[in-house]
Amino acid sequence: MSKSKSGSTSALKEIVQKSQHGNLMGVNPTYLKLFRYVSYFLFVGLIAILPNLVNGLQLRLATLASIWFVATMGLQVLMGQAGLVSIGQAAFVGVGAYTAAILATKHGFSFLLTIPIGGLSGVILAIIVGFPTLKLRGHYLAIASIGVGQIILVLMVNWRAVTNGMDGITSIIRPVESSRVYFYICVAIGLAIAAALYSLRNTPVGLAFTALRTDETAAGAMGISVAWHYLIAFMISGFCAGVAGGLFAYNEGFISPYGFDLGQSIVLLTMIIIGGLRHISGALVGAILLVFLPPNLEFLGSSYMVIYGIAVLLVILFAPDGAAGAILKIRDKFLRKISRTSGEASNE
């Protein structure tokens, strides 16, 4: 009995892994491992020397990219893994940012406390929002998420006693003087969350997300608690957004409702779509692209939002796996090629 259960789990795992990691047929696992370690090493090395290579503005953008990476990872879990739609992620970021900023400026909490509490505020909001919206699917949920985003925005603008209205909250002081160290802190938090989410994918919860996304009815019939897992996905997404909000508040030193409106929600959505909905690395690629491209597209003037829209449309129509999907495809091709050539070499 227990054996057959574990057997079916491992079969499911295999299917899931195939869908998560692309087609690795004919790839020598040693090469894959080697490739991974080399790329991790290169990535960490690049992060370590990046502050030396770029100027202050670019370092600020890099920090911002790592912050949006955290928020977008939440969307990846919610949309890419569990298959739910949220067009209100920026509101969760905003709640995290305001929580952290108010605790830091008015109550003197330290950075080590405000960031986790910011994340927690995202979780609490996710629970509050999740309960009434959990039984909603598809367009109902999408509209509800816009509605929730607007409610939060109205509160930010009009609940002046707490949020200081359109004036926002000023003089949020970074825990570290050096912007270089703050960049490292943001990247470290991002990578820690990414590692946690990677390992989550092969736990029963992660597998349940995939099952729910593929066929909710069948997954429910197999005994997966639909509402509970959707709530978990919401909570993870809210946590990521809340943490990102806290980091954002410290990074900017000043927050106002402007940064957390529907437009920002759509930008976050765009990040994960262009980066690649199916991959956690898609959140990274998307965040980097959408933080670094706009300042470089200034020659387009205000039309760059049109370009955003067209880019999203093209990606959805022609490359639904996004940039990360394309990169992984090239990697697999490369690995298959060297696996084949090395196989031939050893045969001779």
Binding site: M79, G83, V85, I87, P132, T133, K135, L136, R137, G138, H139, Y140, A142, I143, A144, I146, G147, V148, Q150, I151, V154, L155, V157, N158, T217, L262, I266, L269, I273, L277, S302, S303, M305, V306, Y308, G309, I310, V312, L313, I316, L317, P320
Partner: protein
């Protein structure tokens, strides 16, 4: 004497309050009629092909700007511009389906929703690119566009909005209740396979639905252009109210959309007038969330099920 003063004053205020209330109420009905039309415009598409058009508000905005170009910049007469606007918008609807519906047939909800969202972004920012961020306005019909009915001042554009909305809604009800085309569209929406087997050209019906939906959206844009100032980002607010109206009405019923639109319009304007204008949109979304939670089937308690 002092006592009578107080009573007179009291009655005076009461009369003024009643007049004021009626004025506010007409504005609410006009706004509600607009929301109802917006809701109907995307419910048609939703029922026919099962996609929710998140660009619905931007399409209304495009209609308004087309109206501005025709009536203000080209200087055509208003009625003629309205007709041209509706025709152009229905062509736009015909083209729209080839971008976000036909290539994505059978894809998941998420993909289609995002593609309509992206289209909305393109439209809103395209408008901004062409017309700039400054507000535009269709020049009003009359110099003093209000009529005085026993001290209640009612704006003529609002009356026109209410009148044309009623006509349009009657027309739509007639289309689906009495005409062959309406029946064919309905059967395509209900069961495309079966409709096809019965010899209905379902592709054509879907095209007509898109055209009708966009024509209504264009009409709405044109109607509100003299009342509201047009800005490129106006679509969002309109779409959200339309969605809210549709949700209250049970998402998929024309009658429900009318009731939903009117209740939102009236509720919102009364709340803004008598309680708080800054928390006005909060109220609407709380009502919508309440409906989603307690009565997702809408105000008329229509049974909804999910296809497996």
């Amino acid at each position: 004497m002092g006592v009578w003063d107080g009573v007179n004053l009291g009655m005076d205020i009461t009369l003024r309050q009643v007049q004021d209330f009626l004025q506010v109420l007409t504005n609410g009905v006009a706004a509600g009629a607009v929301y109802a039309l917006v809701a109907v415009s995307f419910i048609l598409v939703y029922k026919a092909v099962g996609i929710v058009n998140f660009a619905a508000g931007e399409i209304v905005a495009v209609g308004g700007y087309v109206g501005v170009v025709l009536a203000n910049i080209l200087g055509l007469p208003l009625v003629l511009s309205l007709l041209i606007c509706i025709v152009l918008m229905s062509f736009f609807g015909y083209g729209f389906q080839f971008v976000v519906y036909r290539p994505l047939k059978g894809k998941s909800f998420l993909i289609i929703a995002i593609s309509t969202l992206a289209t909305g972004i393109i439209l809103a920012n395209g408008i901004q690119l062409i017309f700039g961020p400054a507000p535009r306005r269709l020049e009003p019909l009359l110099a003093n566009p209000t009529v005085d009915i026993k001290g209640v001042f009612i704006s003529v554009p609002n009356l026109i909005i209410i009148f044309i909305s009623i006509l349009t809604l009657i027309g739509i009800k007639f289309l689906f209740a009495k005409t062959r085309l309406g029946f064919q569209m309905m059967s395509t929406a209900q069961d495309p396979e079966m409709a096809k087997l019965l010899g209905i050209n379902t592709d054509k019906m879907v095209s007509i639905t898109f055209m009708l939906s966009f024509a209504i959206a264009g009409l709405v844009g044109f109607l509100i252009a003299p009342v509201l100032y047009l800005v490129p980002t106006m679509g969002l607010g309109i779409a959200l109210k339309g969605f809210a109206a549709a949700i209250i009405g049970g998402f998929g019923e024309v009658n429900g959309a009318i009731v939903g639109g009117l209740s939102i319009g009236i509720l919102e304007i009364l709340f803004a007038r008598y309680l708080s204008s800054s928390f006005q949109s909060l109220l609407i979304f709380l009502v919508v969330l309440g409906f989603l939670y307690f009565r997702p089937e809408g105000i008329f308690n229509r049974e909804i099920g999910q296809k497996v």
